[in-house]
Symmetry: C2
Subunit: 516 residues, 2 copies
Amino acid sequence: MDAPLPTLDRPRRIELDARDTVAIVVNSGGLKAGATFDDGLTLVDDVPQGHKVALVDMKQGDAVVRYGEILGHAVRDLPKGSWVDEFSVELPEAPALDALPLATRPAPVVEPLEGFTFEGYRNADGSVGTRNILAVSESVQCVAGVVDHVVEIIRRELLPKYPNVDDVVALSHVYGCGVAINAPAAIVPIRTLQNLALNPNFGGEVLVIGLGCEKLRPERLMPNLSEADAAANVLSLQDERFVGFEAMVAGILEMAEERLKKLNARRRETCPASDLVVGVQCGGSDAFSGVTANPAVGFAADLIVRAGGTVMFSEVTEVRDAVHLLTPRCATEEVGRALLREMAWYDRYLAAGETDRAANPSPGNKKGGLANVVEKALGSIVKSGSSSISAVLAPGEKAVTKGLIYAATPASDFVCGTLQLASGMTVQVFTTGRGTPYGLAAAPVIKVATRSDLARRWHDLMDVDAGVIATGEASVEEVGWIIFREILAAASGKKPWSDRWGLRNSLALFNPAPVT
Amino acid sequence: MDAPLPTLDRPRRIELDARDTVAIVVNSGGLKAGATFDDGLTLVDDVPQGHKVALVDMKQGDAVVRYGEILGHAVRDLPKGSWVDEFSVELPEAPALDALPLATRPAPVVEPLEGFTFEGYRNADGSVGTRNILAVSESVQCVAGVVDHVVEIIRRELLPKYPNVDDVVALSHVYGCGVAINAPAAIVPIRTLQNLALNPNFGGEVLVIGLGCEKLRPERLMPNLSEADAAANVLSLQDERFVGFEAMVAGILEMAEERLKKLNARRRETCPASDLVVGVQCGGSDAFSGVTANPAVGFAADLIVRAGGTVMFSEVTEVRDAVHLLTPRCATEEVGRALLREMAWYDRYLAAGETDRAANPSPGNKKGGLANVVEKALGSIVKSGSSSISAVLAPGEKAVTKGLIYAATPASDFVCGTLQLASGMTVQVFTTGRGTPYGLAAAPVIKVATRSDLARRWHDLMDVDAGVIATGEASVEEVGWIIFREILAAASGKKPWSDRWGLRNSLALFNPAPVT
């Protein structure tokens, strides 16, 4: 974000594939009817910025093509130069899941990327954190008031004594009791909470505050520890040794300080980029997302994979309509089947709620030019770059392999962020067209604006301006390298804007099972 | 909570109905095999406190009766004096909903209760608050970080200038985007948020912070205002007039201060008890809940209804198995049908998630002696007292009538509390056997312990000890009057323990629709 960028004075549009029958308008403020592009194409309607213009005369029923893919079919004749808005395009069926090619398109062979490093906190299990945070897990919402009270004391009175500890974070949530804990789908929130506590940014120190009568037994948050080790990391407020509130507070503070001492002894050390676990996500998307920010993030994702690191992309409803472009990229047929399994699960989940994937996109997405979920998905998956998909995670599962991973999550920004943290993410890259102040307490979030307008207006919230790709001032590769270097910097301790202001969204568990 | 209560030195049990075949053990620490009650009944097993002892020789298949109702049937022979634990009782079918008597049992005729008042904040719409709070509504989780930042500034810099304002509260939630907003069940979280903003404790001042691209349009939170009035109460962060984060913060602070000025001009005034809207709830229940705290709360509920006020009881899964005792008490057949409609809705909701009402109770409930959801429900509905049920609310609906209201909610403490706030609750009475530090930011919560052990141990978290009913030191009526007077005191500004410590649970929306 240096000097303001020049305003475009000539009509400019972007098309991405020779087969496309629509292009999107780049100019800030849109273009008026009569505006003529350099190649002679003249608008017959006013077209807002980011919205689509017909490149050819389309008849009712003709395919509307962008990214070389069919977004849907024209609901009426759409003459060349007309505005192709959300009401002009009929949503097609989602790709059927039973006849897709699996693992048929190996990733392009690329050179490994060597020599890139960051300064991280290495954990006993080999994982590397980008922050050194004391996390206080909660087995149930009932204890949240007490934990908040204690966290404030820790921040005020203890953290100054342990200057190498970056922060203390309560992993609050509204799960844990009053839930159908034996319903099949309850596995999702439970494993999410289990894995959240193990995020590499928490240094392997686990502290669980429980109540005592809740359904989610606090020990259950630590499934791989011995009973004794689990008990040593749990404090239950109903424990009879606590006479009164202040005794509970003292008990938690004592356990917290033991952990602060250990965390405080840690130091950043030089780690190869292969130790990165990066989550990529988009929110408040617009039609530029798929041509500026997301391709640049995809380029950066390829760099990380080439460096031997891990990249997670997510958001089932924003992948569903482009899944036919992903199944061929799966490294093996087994990975492909896992991807289809997650899509099918979500199809059923939405159908059970009497809805479908057309519930996405949002009004803001549409205002930003995205006609439907097909167009949104085609732009969204670009964040995954071009690598093979090496693994698929069900929601909240922990990544245990490297490379490009599909971590299935809802597309909701805050739910996706929470699940990527559970999967082990230590840095997130978040692209936005409409703008969001989103941030996470547990990991730095680098925000990439799809448009320079937004980057300028939100100069102290957006970390990278990818809008320069649309104006022709920079290439996807150039912005991709900027994002890659910002990832290494954030992983080494640089604070993105959301951290500088202390903007933190709540954790938001995905609980597809009933509450009782 | 005065001097410690005497320890019982003789075996003591409680049975409630002449038909009962089981009674619960009162003694702290339980009783050993061989212990003999005054009437000669001798235990043949060790029986923990609150757990059931067989009063008669039961054969396999015999009904196990408590509260004069069948909890289930003996899975094996249960000799007189034996411990009847959760594994001894087979869960019966829930009462069928198609053949229940509706409005057949009018409430006992009672004298109106006159002359009781509290000091409340009267609102323009006639409702009366018990607190004078500035609430900041959020249309979507995306804005939560910014709102938290601003709320901290308001608390630090503005509240000291407006000493008649009790607090500022962000109504944070994880709804608003990434949700199937057109799914049938989405009405639940949407109306909850609409009605939360209108809680009487917020003085009729509404301030909604939105993002701009979210699915839940901020204006939609104010459905009954004109478009202009709604717009005057909304600030969207994506509004182009905000250049940078600090401009957003300044914009919110300006709107907040306008409202603080108005709220600061309000004064408490003497209001009749008929202006009370009391929510009753139980959490961390045990076998004493139904014999000590809940009957006392029920007595207080009757007093409030006699005084012309409003009492809401809730928790579908803790009412379902006792619904046959409630349908006769409905004031009209229409109210009875509404009650059955809510039960049937929840049956379907649980079935869709491949579970049922047996998912309640929790392990802590069972440890406290509750064998199953029938026993829990029989103890739970006692909170409703003996009045006629005058109305039934679907989850999150606002109460518009007085008297005893069934406000259908999940039994989850935090979800129920959130929904009762949306329904207009201004004071909550919360009974607990196992103990919970639960509190709400928007309304005072009076916590009633079912056992004196707990009241003594949590002397600075429990507001009322109802355990004295079990020991015979006080009657249900006496404790009921104490609770009634505590309600009037809390409504007039007295801080219960949770408020004195600042313990606040998160809002937890009930969203039975899918996230996308």
